[in-house]
Symmetry: C2
Subunit: 278 residues, 2 copies
């Protein structure tokens, strides 16, 4: 019962094959999994869909689309085509949502305002494909420390400003503790996301200090860092979110660990720091 | 003429004594300096005030007060006393403003909302001392990546929400490119800061990727990173700010360099990337 909404994001066991990721998830008593395109492609799209279905797992999300901040041209066209493929993959896998990491500044550009406006353009172009595929696009605000090189959407507030330009069935947001825990008006923004029916996913992992030498890998299990998961989870509950809750940890020590151990520890920290507040 | 508003923040030549910092600043043709309490204390407060005065330099700011997020008790009382001393030091040095780095979460605490409310309490307690000393308190929003361990004020918007609870003579804000360049509504917030007469200081340094292994030291000279200094500086000009513009760079390679070279290179990058937009 305590794990009934828990989902293990595949990136938490990054070096495991899809087959292994599915096995350790099931073995840990976790009913749902968040998939990534690369290991899915490696195992085969249809084979992956079958593997998770045969294992009785839900697919909570597919990571990831996005990276569409380029100015118009061949690179942008390639990105849009790739995003359409990602939507189809999500549909095939039974994932209700495709997580979008929107991309940073194009190489050599300092035009942050322009890059952000091209995110809105890309969403407008992709929304019909999402609707056709029965998949929502979930804008993930990344921590502002990734604004230059990963995602020019830097807060939940900004993600919602973007999402609200579209139908709530098509464009939603990810609420990820690691990326937005610092946001000064967090409570108001989570409530706003809930009111609009915009929360596609609640993702949990902790903010650990000092920041890792590779800042991308500076995450931890809930309880290992500074985030108040009780308070955060209550906000998400009060906002009406009733879907799966993913744990997605990028951290070298976690990746180097045995995936069976990682899945069990992820489940244990979820049961301790998140589940009691649902 | 091009350097007439430029100020070298002493932290940019961190390993130089106050005497050396003053000398390299003057030698580079820079008319103003931002001082730090530690090297000032080392050289002596009165001696430092005399040294900058004799050199004909303005003092654009004193860094730093703050670190007052503790719950009530001896640590908080010590912090408040220390901040009152810092205000007096700023007055003695002829610095118009004391820069505040407000502090992170108290050790072991995950109560971000509480820590933020105690910042407001501390400002209320210190504002009369600031008024008496003829010094403004300048809240510096630090990049959200420092929210846990350095400063729970994470955006210009939040800094202004705090400042506006007080008289604009007493509590102002720092506009620092490195910390807030990612802010989605930057233009509106800079304009708001200007309208309220709240800009105590404009500080320039660049956001360089990848983030340095020690994330505190991930800054660069203007032009070395991703920030559009033309656009940013225009916002500050349009907001009516007419004071000194400091360059403050925390970066190991810069600190390891000859301070004479650093001061000249700082002036050159200011002349290239900032001065033309004033």
């Amino acid at each position: 019962m305590a794990l009934d909404r828990f989902s293990l994001n595949q990136a938490t066991v990054k070096y495991a094959s899809l087959e292994t990721a599915v096995r350790v998830t099931v073995d840990a008593g976790i009913p749902s999994i968040g998939l990534w395109r690369e290991p899915v492609a490696e195992f085969g799209l249809e084979a992956s869909a079958r593997a998770v279905r045969d294992a009785g797992l839900r697919v909570s999300s597919l990571c990831r689309g996005g990276f569409f901040t380029h100015v118009e041209g061949p690179d942008r066209r390639a990105a849009m085509d790739d995003n359409r493929r990602a939507i189809e993959e999500a549909a095939t896998l039974g994932a209700p949502t495709l997580v979008l990491v929107v991309g940073g500044l194009p190489h050599g550009s300092r035009d942050l305002v322009g890059a952000r406006s091209r995110v809105a353009d890309a969403l407008a172009e992709l929304a019909p494909s999402a609707r056709a595929g029965g998949v929502s696009l979930a804008i993930e605000a990344l921590h502002p420390m990734y604004a230059a090189d990963r995602a020019v959407v830097s807060s939940l507030s900004q993600a919602l400003d973007l999402a609200q330009q579209f139908d709530a069935r098509d464009v939603q947001v990810v609420v990820d503790t690691f990326h937005i825990w610092w946001e000064p008006d967090l409570a108001a923004q989570v409530a706003r996301a809930g009111r609009g029916g915009r929360i596609a996913s609640y993702q949990v992992c902790d903010w650990v200090t000092p920041i890792a030498p590779d800042a991308l890998l500076s995450r931890g299990y809930p309880g290992d860092g500074h985030i108040d998961f009780a308070a955060f989870t209550r906000l998400v509950v009060e906002a009406g979110y009733a879907g799966d809750i993913e744990m997605e940890i990028f951290r070298q020590e976690v990746w180097d660990d045995d995936p069976t151990v990682v899945a069990r520890h992820a489940a244990a920290t979820y049961e301790e720091h998140v589940a009691p507040y649902l």
